[in-house]
């Protein structure tokens, strides 16, 4: 399984902070799993993806295997 982690407002849209999903997982597989406003927001350019804490330069290149943690990162609003 791959663990999906929803950060910031994505957790509200997903209704959960984390979720398990079948491995392997690529970008198309991820998009197919999501729906409605959550899918739209994840597809926006400003939403980034990290695998095991490493940011992907191009999220369409996502290739997650069993045991990986995939974080969905909306725009930050810190400090």
């Amino acid at each position: 399984m791959v663990r999906l982690v929803f950060l910031g407002k994505l957790a509200d849209l997903a209704g959960v902070a984390e979720r398990e999903i079948e491995a392997p997982l690529d970008w198309q597989g991820l998009v197919d799993e999501l729906h409605g406003p959550l899918r739209e927001t994840v597809m926006q350019d400003r939403t980034r993806i990290a695998v095991n804490g490493a940011l992907l330069a191009d999220k369409a290149a996502l290739q997650a295997r069993a045991g990986d943690e995939v974080a969905l990162l909306p725009p930050v609003s810190g400090g």
Partner: protein
């Protein structure tokens, strides 16, 4: 010296700045910025969420970059996470350099990048309801100053 901390509990800035300043006597100048939760309007609380595998590592990278860019002798960054009340400190940046310009600019640079380039997500509670804060255009403008 680089000292970067992510704290889940309230902190007293002086307890970090005092030892930091004392650790570097005769270095020239120390500039410090402390940002607090503003007692604005009807904000009851503020929450900062972060992503453990990335947030602290990102702050450490920012610290290294700031030390290098401004030739600092030392840099301290303390950042809160979790739920904070108005008046509580959110962030503390303290930079020690031989000349004041370097110390002041380093704090300015680190604050701009902590605000718009670190893995924090903020929400505010008003009238009992939590709302996510979207990044402000101003934050991007601030960061673009550094080229």
């Amino acid at each position: 010296m680089r000292d970067v901390r992510l704290l889940a509990e309230p902190f007293v800035p002086g307890e970090y700045v005092g030892p930091f300043t004392n650790a570097h006597p005769g270095l020239g100048g120390v500039c410090t910025f402390v940002g607090e939760v503003r007692s604005d309007d009807d904000v009851e609380a503020l929450e900062l969420l972060h992503y453990a595998p990335m947030t602290l590592a990102g702050m450490e990278q920012l610290a290294d970059q700031t030390i290098e860019r401004f030739g600092l002798m030392s840099l301290l960054i303390v950042h809160r996470t979790g739920v904070m009340l108005p008046g509580e400190p959110i962030v503390l940046v303290s930079a020690a350099a031989r000349h004041r310009r370097g110390a002041i600019d380093a704090v300015d640079f680190a604050m701009d990048h902590l605000k718009s380039d670190s893995w924090f997500w903020k929400r505010e509670k008003r009238g009992g309801v939590w709302n996510w804060i979207e990044p402000r255009g101003e934050d991007y403008a601030d960061i673009s100053r550094w080229g």
